[in-house]
Each structure stands twice: as C-alpha cells, then as structure tokens.
C-alpha cells in the first residue's frame, strides 16, 4: 500500500503514468484558450462529453462585450458537443464539482490551479493549463508524474472563533510558498476526521499555495454522508498512513486567528498582532470560504448590527445563494449593510465586481494576496470568515476573539 496519490494513480512516487481522466473542467477564463488549442489540434472530438464540464465563474456575468463574445463562443461550443455546462450565476467551478460530482478515488483535472480543492473527497485532483486540457478533451487521458507526499497529521479540535481557514493559513505559513512543490499533501489523524466536508475543502483549496500538486483527505464517514446528500453512494478509503517523504504535525488546539500579510500567502501573522489596521473593503466568498457554512457564520456574527466598511459577500454557488435566501441569512447580511453579489469568483481575481483602488486595503476570505491581484496598487490581507465579520463591524482589522 502506498499514499493515496500512489494508490489512485497506480504507481510509486517519481514514476510517470498515463492516466484516464475521470472528470475534466474548465471555466470561462481558461476555457477560451482550451477551445483555441483544441481547435488547432484538429481532433474534432471530445472524448467523453458527459465527464467534461464548462463552468462560467471567473468574469460572470460578463463585464464587457469582449468577454461576452468569448463567452458566447464557449457556450455555443458546449451546446454543440453536449458538454456539461453551468451558466453565469451557477457558481465557482470547484464548488460546483464539490456538489456531488467528484467521487473518492477519481482522477480529476481542472484548468484552474485551485482544482486541488477536490482532493477533499479522496480524489486525485489537480490543475492543468489550457493546452494540456485541450489534449484531455480529445483523448480523455493525460500524463502525471506521481508525486511524493507530505503528511500533515492533525490532532485535537479547533478552538472556538478559529476556523479551518486559520488552520489552512497556518500550514501554508509553515510549509512556505514552495514547501510542497511537485509533491502532494495528505491530511490525516484524528483532527482530520473531526473536520466537516466544508472545512476539508478549505484546507485542500490552499494546498496549491505551498506549490502542492494535490491536497488529499481519505474519504471517511463524513465524506460518505456528505455525498449521500447528493444521492451518491460511496465507501470509505483505508488510510495507509505511511510512505510520506516528510510529516508535520499540527495540534488544532493551538490554532489562533491569523491573516496572510500581502503580498505573500505564507507570510502569516496572528490577527492580534495587527489589530487596528485600517481596512477599506471586506470580501467574503471564493472557492476557499464562500460556502453555506461560511455565509451562515458571517450572518450570525453581523445579524442585527451594521458594518462600518463596504462589505461584499459572494456565495460560491447558486444553490448556496438559494439556500441562504430560504433560511434568511442573506436577508440578515443585507440588513447589516453588506452587498451580495451573484455567485461566482467575484472580485477575487481583480477582473470585476469589487476591484479595489490604489492604496486601498481589503480583508478577503480568498486564498491569494499577490501584488495588484484585486486591483492595481491595492493590498489584500487573507483571513477567516470570523475575522472578516469582526473587521467589517469594526472598520479596522479585528480579532474575532475580541468581537
């Protein structure tokens, strides 16, 4: 028995394998280039349209006529080839794939770096570029070098007012931005088993910020119950718990609210050290923290109060928005003075809907704080939903513990 990546890819670490792809997805950003490369390749075929997905999320709804035209072409293409398609407002690709599509043991590739999110299901999920994806569309296969694995052993439970996001930023800080380059990360231990599916998705999501190819959890009872909610019957995977290139241990009890200080995701500091920093915008959403549990936590913290800075909340998918309207949390969020955007990536990649101005500072629940990412001359601090809520209410960076 080997690591989960070795088991799924069927070869020991270091070997090159050609592997059938179980699910392949692109979004409106990478889909355009994929389509162009696919046309140039000239195969004329899509190997398995029922397992191929085009999901609009990055600049959706379109912001201008150039984008609109590119999207129209992709939409038309999806229709012609019977490719599974999600329209603007459907939600973020990784979120949609996590709503009962990806199953344990599958090989999943997305033309987006955060495709590692789906490793939370015990799938081997990784990002590729557009040309690789074009070849996958044609052949249904691609090559991988089976990665070595870093084990992250989790114990204990998270203290109140900390979240999976604080844990995620903490491990990124410990490994560094290239600490897991070319490798996979496997989360295990009693602390991992105690995490909800939403928490696991957040942890797997950040794996690529350490350079990792994949971030995996073994499917267990929690995974099976979650997928049963989408009508999928799956069985748990048996953890090997061995064969790691390196292991680090994290005691969840020791996690505190943290932020990643721009422009590096691995520059992680306790919120308490930076309290009082002026903030111009708070953004809650993305494939990291735009799930229902996140919005619910945020709503609980701001309900009946008023935010002091402009606050943008973007649900990660249409079904999350619908559920939030039904339960009333969206009403609470709006009543607190926040604006709710249409499901998708929102301002995360700095292309539309909430871009920040020069010299402005945003506290965001996203996963990247690179220079100029959300707007030229702006700065992004990354934090948890609780930190976002406390900060929105105070108008300055605030530890959720003090809220």
């Amino acid at each position: 028995m080997g690591t989960l990546s070795e088991e799924i890819l069927g070869a020991p670490a270091g070997e090159y394998v050609d592997r059938k792809v179980d699910r392949a997805f692109v979004h409106d950003g990478t889909g355009v280039l994929t389509l162009e490369a696919w046309r140039c390749m000239g195969s004329g075929r899509i190997a398995d349209p029922s397992r191929t997905y085009i999901l609009f999320d990055h600049i959706a709804p379109a912001n201008n006529s150039i984008t609109a035209n590119l999207q129209a072409e992709l939409r038309q293409f999806a229709r012609e080839h019977g490719i599974r398609f999600s329209e603007v407002g459907g939600g973020i690709c990784h979120q949609l794939m996590s709503e009962g599509e990806v199953l344990p043991g599958e090989v999943v590739v997305g033309a987006d770096s955060h495709s590692c999110t789906l490793g939370a299901f015990g799938a081997f999920a990784t990002g590729v570029g557009a040309t690789d994806m074009a070849a996958i569309w044609s052949e249904g296969m691609t090559w991988f070098r089976v990665p070595h694995t870093i084990g992250i052993r989790l114990s204990g439970t998270l203290p109140p007012r900390t979240e999976a996001k604080d844990l995620a930023l903490t491990y990124v800080g410990r490994l560094g931005m290239d600490g897991a380059s070319y490798q996979a990360i496997e989360f295990s231990g009693t602390g991992a088993r105690g995490l909800s599916m939403d928490d696991r998705l957040t942890l797997s999501n950040l794996a690529v910020e350490t350079g990792a190819k994949a971030g995996l959890f073994y499917a267990d009872r929690v995974t099976c119950e979650y997928l049963a909610g989408f009508g999928k019957k799956v069985v748990p995977q048996v953890p090997a718990g061995c064969c790691y290139a390196r292991t680090i241990s994290i005691d969840l009890h020791e996690i505190v609210p943290v932020v990643a200080v721009p422009p590096r995701v691995d520059s992680v500091k306790p919120v308490s050290e930076l309290e009082g920093l002026p903030i111009d915008q708070v953004f809650v959403g993305t494939c990291t923290n735009g799930r229902y549990a996140d919005l619910e936590r945020f709503a609980r913290l701001v309900a009946g109060k008023k935010v002091k800075v402009r606050t943008i909340v973007v649900p990660a998918s249409g079904s999350i928005l619908a559920r939030g309207i039904e339960s009333g949390i969206i009403r609470d969020i709006i009543a607190a003075g926040c604006v709710v955007g249409s499901p998708g990536c929102g301002p995360c990649l700095g292309a539309h809907m909430g871009v920040i101005g020069e010299g402005e500072v945003c506290l965001s629940t996203a996963n990247r704080n690179f220079r100029n990412r959300m707007g030229v001359g702006g700065e992004i601090y990354l934090g948890s939903v609780g930190t976002a809520a406390a900060t929105a209410l105070a108008g300055v960076l605030t530890d959720p513990g003090g809220a």
Partner: protein, 156 residues
C-alpha cells in the same frame, strides 16, 4: 536542444499575476499579453525580454494556472527560463507552449550570455558550467515540435 541569450535576472516566487495581470485576461490577444508581461514588477522591462534568458530564483510561475503567463513570455521573445524550481502548472504550460524551462540553481548577472543544453542538462554562464535537471524525453519532444499542439498533430 540548446537555448542561448542574455541573462535577465529576476527574484524568487515570481507569480503568474505578476507575469500577466488578471486585468489583461479578458481577451485572446497574445501580443497584448506580451506587451504587458511583468508590468507590475517593472514597467520598463518589456523591451528587454526579446532574446533574453530569464534567470530567476526558486518557485517561478507560482499561483494561477493561466497559460497566458507562459504564452506572454514566449510571445515577448523570451528564449527560455532558468530557475532552481518552477511551480508545476507553469512548468507544464511553458513546455506545452514551446517555451524552454531549465531547472538549475545558477547565480545571475544581468546581460551575461547564458547557454543551456536541455537534453544533456547543464547551463553555462560567465565561464562556468552548472548541472541542470534533464527534461523527460516527452517534454523534449514537445519543445522540439514547438509546443503540445504541434506535437499532438504530428503524432495523431
């Protein structure tokens, strides 16, 4: 397979947002990406890219999977990139668009001549020869074809 050009030194952890910013992704215009490459790092860098070999610190190309980053550099005329390590998606993308990448830990002096031999695995700069990791035969094949699209067409 051999590449050569004048060294253009860059720091470590160059991310794809810095190579080509998200605000330029709303198009298919490759020339536009080339013109705006590295704009947020150094707005005056564009004219120096043609014919240059980028010699960077570790973890080059981290961040997003946007292939536009690799395309921008190829379009701008970059002859190749030498770095101790690359983010894996960027590494694959670069090969797939026909942009040579070499894993090698070399000290860098701007404008010195750099020669890299990809199959034999070394980089020569300033009179010294430094070993580099060899690319897999498949990657060499793709680079020689000028990218995965042409490689694919030739093999199907």
């Amino acid at each position: 397979m051999r590449i050569e050009g004048k060294a253009l030194c860059l720091p470590q952890d160059i991310d794809t947002d810095v190579i080509i910013a998200g605000r330029y992704l709303r198009t298919k215009d490759r020339k536009l990406w080339a013109v705006h490459a590295f704009e947020d790092l150094d707005p005056g860098i564009a004219p120096r890219l043609a014919g240059a070999v980028i010699v960077a610190g570790k973890n080059f190309g981290c961040g997003s999977s946007r292939e536009q980053a690799a395309i921008a550099l190829r379009e701008a005329g970059v002859a190749g990139i030498v770095a101790p390590s690359f983010a894996r998606i960027f590494f694959r993308n670069a090969v797939n668009v026909g942009l040579p990448v070499v894993e090698c830990d070399c000290p860098c002096t701007d404008n010195t001549l750099v020669v890299a031999e990809l199959e034999e695995g070394y980089v020569e700069m300033g009179g010294s020869r430094i070993p580099a990791r060899k690319l897999s035969p498949r990657m060499i094949g793709i680079l020689k074809a000028g990218g995965l699209v042409d490689f694919w067409r030739a093999s199907h």
